[in-house]
Each structure stands twice: as C-alpha cells, then as structure tokens.
C-alpha cells in the first residue's frame, strides 16, 4: 500500500487534475542526471490526524471514567459498564486502524452497495413481523438490531455511509452551486432521514441536516441559496413547533408526539422560570442542570461526585446524560477543557480537509466533523437546558458499544485521509472562481 500503484485509477485521470500526463515517466526510461527526480513518500506522519486521535482518546478516557462514576458509591475498580466501554474502545482502535489501511478513495466504489445495505437495514427495522429477539422495540421505538454480542443501531451506520455517499456524489460536481443542483443532495439525505424518522428517532434524523449543510458549504454551494433554504426550513420548523404547542393546549398532537411537545415545553418553562412542572415534564432536565450547577467552578472529589450522582434521580446518567456527570465531577474548568478537546477534534478534522486536495476526502472530513459537532452540541445543549431533550449521545463519551465503534470508524477514515500526502500537482478541489459559478 505504500506506493502509487495502489492508488485508484481516477487518481491519475480525473478531470479535476491539472498537471502533466504520466507520459513524462515514459519519456524518461533511464534516469537523467540533469533532471532532479522528485521522489516523495505517499504517506506522511506529520498530519492533523494526531489531533483527532488524541482528542478521541482523551474523550474515550473521560467517558470510561465518567461511566464508572455513575456505577455507584463504591469507587476503586472499573465497573462492568465502564469496562465494557473500555473494551469497545480498544476494539474501536483496531477498527480505526483497519479503516486506515485501504486508500480511502477505494471506498467510492463501495458507496452504492453500502448505501443499499444501510437502507435495507433501516427498512428491516420497520418490518412489522420481525421477531422481537432481533428487533426489540423500546418505548415504542424500533431502533436496535440484536446481533448476539451487542445491539446496534443501523442509524449510526447510516450517518457514516450517508456522509460517504454525499461526498462521493458531490466530489466532481459544481451544479450544487445552482439552486436546482441542491435537489440531488437533499434527496440523498431524505431517504435515510425519512426511514429513521419512522423508527421514530427524531434526534438522529435531524443530524443529517447539519451534515448536509456543512458538506454543501464546503463543496462551494452558494451561501445565499443555503441561507434562503435555511430560512425556509426554519420557518417551516417554527410553524410546526408553534402549531404543536398551541394544539397541545387542546390535547391534540397531529404533528409532533406528545412527549416531544412536552420536552419543548420543558425548555420553555425553564426560560420562563416556571418551576410548576419540574417533577413532571421538566424532571430529567431539572436533574441534569442541578448536577451540572452543583459541580461549581472546580468540581468535586470523586467520592463526593459519586454520591451526588448516585442520589440524584438523573435518568440515563451513563448514557445521554453523561455530560452532567462530567460537569459535576470537574466543574466549569472541566467543561472548558472538554469543549476544548472537542474543538481540537473538529479543528483537526477541518484542518485535514483543508490540507487534502481530493474532493472526496475533503467532504468526508467536513461531514464527519459536522456530525460529531452537531451531536456534541445537541447533547450538551439539551443537558444544560438550552435544547429540548432528545435521545442523542455525547460522541466518544456516552456509553454505547455501537456508537463508539462507529465513532472510531470515522476517526479511522479521517486518519486515512490525513496520512495520504496529496500529489504536488493536484489541483485543489472546490476552488471555484466566480466565472464558473455563474
């Protein structure tokens, strides 16, 4: 894998390529001492991927530690769940390394089959007669497939595959710079979103939108188009929300489910300072913000933090609400640190995108960064009470084998892109000049 022969063919013949044809090589069958041969290793170790890997490892370590805090009052040894998470993290590292080995551009060939498989899995979840041993609904949602050792969520895989598909789709195009060209990528996003919405899993479904927008922005779509589309969808969303809230007063829930409306109301209650429903719809959020606030500036010693967490009635404490546990243990300073680590991860991924000349690689990095950033933002936002509560995990920190593995797949792919040194003479992709744009 270490020489140029392993590179996929389009590497040499892409239209975006700009430089002398490989005929130059044929013209010099024997080395000419007057010519300086430029020999360049195709792989590099000096890349921003380390930033991503480092950030990931820190986050995973924080996650394992926080999960063990939630296990009870007794400290000392890693708890069962924390141990399981650690095992999954090791497994994840292996998966990441495997994901680094083949050249990432090879993936482009498999994008369509992958998409088909994911869509098939998402449909499989929704088939009504699948035995419950395989697809067990929880709280009425059909999101998990039981594969024996663990359960996994196809929607997690869908996120990754979706980014790959969109990146592959957008890589040589420039029609997305017109408003009509936005239809294609939107349709690609629509299929998994719709399937995931039916599960139902509103949170994960909504994750596709920021990823799409980020990739479109990176691929050079016109901001004015995106903004007008954004304004339109924002207006639509507002209408849905307001209608739901108004109709909820009359006990009618045509657009959103009652628990979703309640969660929105809970956030509004908090901003209005209305504590009447703290023990009903605002319960989970109230418990989380109490724990976070209790962390103060510098947090608490582990034993104290364990007790505070143990005796709070915080649900999903090792999972969706892990941030509250972290904030309680490490306080405001810890939060700043954690956000800095995430910033490093995102910054690293964006830097790799910037350093990479290949359009596919660029978009994949941006897409993954968008997914991790959104997931982190939504999770922390809901935990601190800025956003309605939705089932979204904190990437790399929350407990969960399949989401951790998928996270490591993303890390592996990003590193895969990072280690491939771009060819000198490649044109940087998506550098549209305004002529072409019109």
């Amino acid at each position: 894998m270490s020489d140029a022969k392993t590179l996929p063919p389009e590497h040499q013949s892409g239209p975006s390529q700009d430089g002398p044809p490989p005929a130059a090589k044929k013209a010099t069958p024997t080395p000419d001492p007057t010519l300086r041969t430029v020999k360049r290793k195709p792989l590099t170790l000096a890349h921003a991927g380390w930033l991503v890997v480092g950030a990931t490892l820190i986050l995973v370590a924080i996650g394992v530690y926080c999960i063990s805090i939630t296990s009870g009052l007794e400290g000392g040894r890693l708890s069962g769940t924390a141990l399981r998470q650690a095992v999954f993290a090791c497994l994840g590292l292996a998966v990441a390394i495997v994901a680094m080995i083949p050249h990432y551009r090879r993936l482009i060939h498999y994008v369509v089959p992958l998409a088909v498989i994911v869509v098939a899995m998402l449909i499989f979840l929704l088939i009504p007669f699948v035995p419950e041993a395989i697809v067990r609904p929880r709280n009425g949602a059909r999101r998990w497939i039981d594969i024996g050792i663990t359960e996994f969520q196809p929607s997690e895989v869908a996120k990754v595959v979706y980014v790959l598909v969109t990146a592959a789709y957008l890589r040589y195009r420039h029609n997305h710079r017109s408003i009509r060209g936005l239809v294609g990528p939107s349709l690609i996003a629509f299929v998994p979103m719709a399937l995931i919405l039916v599960e139902p899993d509103l949170g994960t479904a909504l994750l596709f939108i920021p990823a799409l927008i980020a990739m479109l922005i990176a691929a050079g779509a016109r901001l004015s188009h995106l903004i007008s589309a954004g304004v339109l969808s924002l207006a639509f969303g507002t209408v849905v929300l307001v209608t739901s809230l108004v109709l909820a007063q009359q006990d009618s829930y045509p657009l959103m489910r009652p628990h979703q409306v309640e969660r929105v109301q809970a956030v509004m209650d908090r901003f209005k300072g209305d504590d009447r429903f703290d023990h009903e719809r605002g319960f989970q959020g109230e418990q989380a913000t109490t724990l976070i606030g209790a962390g103060g500036i510098a947090g608490h010693p582990e034993a104290k933090s364990r007790a505070l967490v143990y005796f709070s009635s915080l649900p999903e404490r090792h999972n969706d609400m892990i941030f509250a546990v972290f904030a309680n243990r490490f306080g405001m300073l810890g939060i700043v640190g954690l956000l800095a680590v995430y910033a490093a991860w995102i910054g690293g991924a964006l830097a790799i995108a910037g350093g990479c000349k290949d359009p596919f690689g660029r978009l994949v990095c941006v897409g993954f960064a968008a997914i991790v950033a959104t997931q982190m933002g939504v999770n922390i936002g809901m935990t601190v009470g800025l956003l309605p509560i939705t089932g979204m995990t904190l990437p790399f920190v929350s407990y969960g084998g399949s989401s951790l593995l998928i996270g490591f797949v993303m890390v592996g792919l990003i590193c895969n892109i990072a280690i491939r040194r771009p060819q000198y003479l490649w044109r940087r992709s998506f550098e549209f000049d305004d002529e072409l744009a019109r």
Partner: protein, 738 residues
Amino acid sequence: MFIRRLLLLGGAFAIGLGALLIQACRLTVVQGPDLLDDAEARLLRDRWTPTVRGRVLDRKGRILAYDRPAFDVMIEYPLITGEWAYSAAAEEAREADPEQWGTLDKTQRDELIRSYLPEYERREAYLWANLAVILDIPVEDLEQRRDEIEQTVERMAEVVWNARLRQRRAELNRDREQAVEVTLADVAQPLREQTEPHAIAVGIDEETAFAVRRLAAQFDGVSLAQGGWRDYPYDSITVDIDRSTFPPPIRADAVESRTVSGVTSHVVGRMRKLFREDVETRPRINPDTGETDRGHYRHGDRVGASGVESALEGSLRGLRGHIITHRDTGKEEVIAPVPGTDARLTLDIMLQARVQAVLSPDLGLAQVQDWHATRAGLPAPLGTELNAAAVVLDVDTGEILAMVSTPTYTREQLQEDFQSINDPVAVPLVNRAVARPYMPGSIVKPLMLAGALTDGMIHLDTGIECTGHYYPEHNNRFRCWIYRPYYGNTTHHEQFGRPLLGDEAICVSCNIFFYTLGNQLGPDGVVRWYKRFGMEEPFDLGIGAEYHGNAGRKVNGDPLYIGDAMLMAIGQGPVAWTPLHAADSYATLARGGLRVTPRILADAPPRARDLHLDPESVDLAMRGLKLAANDELGTGSSIAYASGSEPIFDVPGVEVWGKTGTATAVSLLGEDPDGDGPEPRPVLRKGDHSWYVVLAGREGLQPRYAIAVIIEYGGSGGRVAGPVTEQIIYALVAEGYL
C-alpha cells in the same frame, strides 16, 4: 476559497461552543451554590421520630393520660384494595418470559396473568387469615377495616382530583377565550394515600408486634410503625356507694359497687386524626422566621381534639427526634426527641368518679322519682333520666376538684358508634359544667343581698314586706313564688308577721324582697354585681369550650329596663351562667368577697380580686344560706317523702350553707317531624332546671368546698338537686376531704 468555507464552518462551531459555555457558566458559577445545595440535600435523608406526648395527671399524681409505647400495623394500599395479587401475578408473568410477554396483546397478557393469579390470591388470603389470628379479631373485622380505608381513600381521591381538575381548568383558561378541555384522567395522579401504607390496626403491644414482624418478613407490603397509643387508665373507675344515706324510697342498707366510664372524657379530652389545617398551623418550616419546628405535624400524627388534650396541645405535644442520615457516608446525626410537658390537673379523679356515679341516672338520684312531684305534678314521667352537671370547688384555692357532666361519652363510643352520641337531649359532647348556659334562678339571691348591702341600698336591719306581688295593682306580675292560688294567696309577711330581714329572705327565697333590691340597684347595679362575681369573664381553664355567661344582654339588643333588673335580681330574665359560675360566686362569698378565678390546671397562675364586699353583708348572706339549708322554713332544708319529711343534709360532722334554685328553662323541642309542616315541634323536655349550690365545711369551721349542681328539667331545686348534692358531700367525705 475552500479554506474560507472551512473557517466559516469552524466559526459556526465556535459560536455554538460559546453558547454552551455561557449556559454552562450560568449554571455552575451563577446558580452553582444554589444548585449545589439542591444536590446535596439529596444526600441527606432525614427521618423524624414521633413526639412523645406529655402526661395528664390529677391532683394526687394519678396518670389520667399517657402515651403507651405501641405499634401500628401498616399495610400498603394495593394490599388493602386487593390489587396487589393481580399486579404481583403480572410481574411474575412478565419476568417468567420477557420475550414472549412482549409479543402478547392485552387480552393474552390478561389470560397469562390469570394463570399466575391463584397463587397470589392464596398468599393474600394467607396474609389476612394470619393477621386476624395474630391480632385476635375476626377476618370480617379486618375486611371491614379494609373497606373503610379504601372508601375513605377513594372518596378523598375523588375530592382531590376534582379540586385539581377545577384548578387546572382555571389555570389553563385564565387568559383564554376558548375553553380548554381537561379531563379527570389528566389530573388523576395517585394521591399519597394511594401509595403509602395505612394502619389496619393501631396500638398493638410488643408481643403482637413480634408476630406481625414475622409476617412482615414474608410480605413486603406489611410493616410496623411506632405509634404511641394514648391511654387513659382512669377512664373507667369502680367506686363503692353506700345506699343507706339515700332518700327513703331508694334507700338500702348496702354498699354498691358502680363502674363509671368516660370519667376523663370531658376534661382530659380525646385525640383525633390530623387535618390538613393542623399541618398549616404548625408547619415544618416556620414561614416567618424560616426556622425548623421540631414539633411540626406530619401525616399520621394525632392531635388533641377536646379538653386538656386540645387546649394544651402546644405544650403536651413535645418535640420530635430528628435523624439525619448522610446517605453517602452512612453517618447519622441524631437529635433526641423532647417529651411534651406533663399537664397536672387540680381534679381528684376518684372524687370525679364518685360524683359521676351519683349523677348516673341508673343509681336513682338523677331520674324522675315520686318525691320530685310538686303540687303541679311530676316534671316528666317517672324514671325519666335526668341530665345533670356538678362542680366541686376548693374554696381556699379556687381549684376545681371535680367537674362532671352527664351523660358523658367514652372515646370508644365516639369512634365506633357516633350515632349514640348524636342525641339532641343528651348531647354528651357538651360539658354542661362550663359550656352550656343556664338561667341561675334563686341561687343568685345571696349575691344580690351582699351586693345591695355593700352598695348601701339597704341596711342590715332593713325589713321588706312580702306583699305577694310587687306592684299592688297587678297580682299576676312580679309575684312571690309563695303567692299562688293553691297556697291560698299567702305571703311571707303572713308567715313571719313582720317585714323580712335579708337572711330570712334568703331562707324563704322571697321574690318580693329581691325585686325590691333589683329595683333599687337598677339595671346597672345588678349587671355590675353579676360581673363582679365573675360573669362574662373567661375562666380560661384550658379544657376547651367555655360559656362566659350573660349578664343583661338581651337577644334583641334592647336596653335593660327596671323590670329586667328586678327579674335579674332573682336570677331570671336576660341572665345565664354555668354551674362553675355558681360554685365560683359562692366560693367568693365564702371567702368574704375575695374572688379567686377557678382553675383546673395546677400550674395556672392564681388570679384573685377583692370585691370589697361589706363583711357584715357577707355574714348576713351566709346566715341566710345556713338558714335556707337547715332551718325548717328554709326552701332547701327538707323533703317531704311519702314516709315523712326528712332533712336534705344529714351528713355527720358537716355543716352546710346552701340555696336552691328553680330556674325557668326554655322547652327543648325536637325536629319538625315533616320538616316544614305547620304542626308544632314535639316537646322533648320541659319544665324548670333544678339548682342547688352549697358551701360545705367541717362543723364549726369555715366552709371549705363549694358545690354547684344542676339537674336539667328536674323541676324543684330542693327535691331534685338536693339529694344529689348531699351525696356529693358524702363523696367528699369518702375521699377524705370532709
């Protein structure tokens, strides 16, 4: 260009991070300390141990009420309603095969549950059968108790939910034009009563509790609670009564044992369940000072409902113990409970029991007897039970030695058979000795005499001629009691052959004499003397409701006329008081005009006031009282039985001063039979109340005890109340007071 776009994306990310940081900062730095308090509060679990209520003691230190350490058997509500079996069966059905469970629909699940149900029903039956054996009561009683609890809770839930529904509706529709529909199901969260255990049996002893504890080990829903059980050991007392001193018709040469119950009911009172209002009167955190009140009320507490238990609730109650457990470290901070302060009464409970025995109708004195008959006939058919009240007061100290009101009630009766207490004639809940108004009648005459003499209206040697009727031209108004057609229109003047002096007027209870005094004192004077003797001034005994008396306040608010003053001077007209007022005023007279407010709590500070009575007026009144009770002309000296006339007071070695009263009473009417018809309401009781107030002391010494007796609708004061009063004097002798 691409880099710029990446920077744009990075910038958007940074803005998001900024928002998160600001909110996190708001939570941790700004609200941090408060939220930390909230979070730390969850680390503590505080348990409040129950208070230990103070005891109630009588004057000789006998324990009238105390908290017996005892246990309540608590049962979870689902076990009480029987829902437990089904939900436990459902649990097992689900656990047995969770995967299959998930595939079943509602009816299939129900079928599956029913297959598990018999086992749980068997266990449930086992529980109740065993509990019945342990508690030694029939299973049916337990079932009845369960039904009661269930009904009470369901009723409560209905009320609460409906109230919540109204409140929620009002809340939602406050600013809305269109009504928002809220249903009962929206507000029907289970009440605390539906999730907490209930007491199925209370006050069980240690041995029974041990057996229950073994049962509780098999059933999660069964537990024991520390429930101090208020015990009243002297509530039922047996006394020996010597019938040889009774009036001849019921006399017997025998000593009879009598058991009286409810001896402490009126004075000591009873306990009741906690009401929500109680919690508000004594909340855990004082809303003004923010301090924690360790005596606060909690669910399951009992509160004094009447008598001393109610009046001294604050000091009897005591403070709870407080156990704060640090749940993280397991450390406990224990604040020991502070028992309530004992209440010591001036009552002698044995004397109280004797007086109550005397007033019991079945003994014979407090029922209509043939010697009660006047020339107008019997007040009620022979054998009719008479309701009565009596007060015995220590003259020297103003302490109440006995205070009895019959019929009384027992606490069990109140709990089990409330209907038996809900009787318009008997009204057992009312303490007649202090809380029911009666017209005083002639017993006020010595007070008026002393007052008029002190005011200088008459002199010691002033004689007043009894003319039979006060106004010469009206022979049917303001008459003397003796001036009646069947007496041959006689007068006291004819009897004595001269105008009556003050003591003689008391002796024969001459109305004309006291009409004259009333006329001279005028309304102001009469009212003033009534008030000086203690009317319209609270006793503040601390045993619950008191009637403060009425001296000259008319129902219609009219001013008092001279005619009212004349009537009030013989204890009629707009005037009413209680037996305690009567005993109190006679004790004041016996002290030569020093009024010591009666008290029943030994620790109550004595309150005394000198009325500045003319000593000679007191002597004259006392002489009159002595004549009235002992002279052959005295209205309260003897009773003519079929077997011959006998003196009322014949207690060896005891000297008696006393005055009878026959006070006009409003007839007691029953309910209108059909509610609105023109037919008159049935008369339940009619006639006069019978009073006798005496001062008694050892022969040749000063009077030591004031005794006031009233027999409701008894008729003649001397004939009815007289023998009762004599037996109370015998009771004082038997208890060593005389």
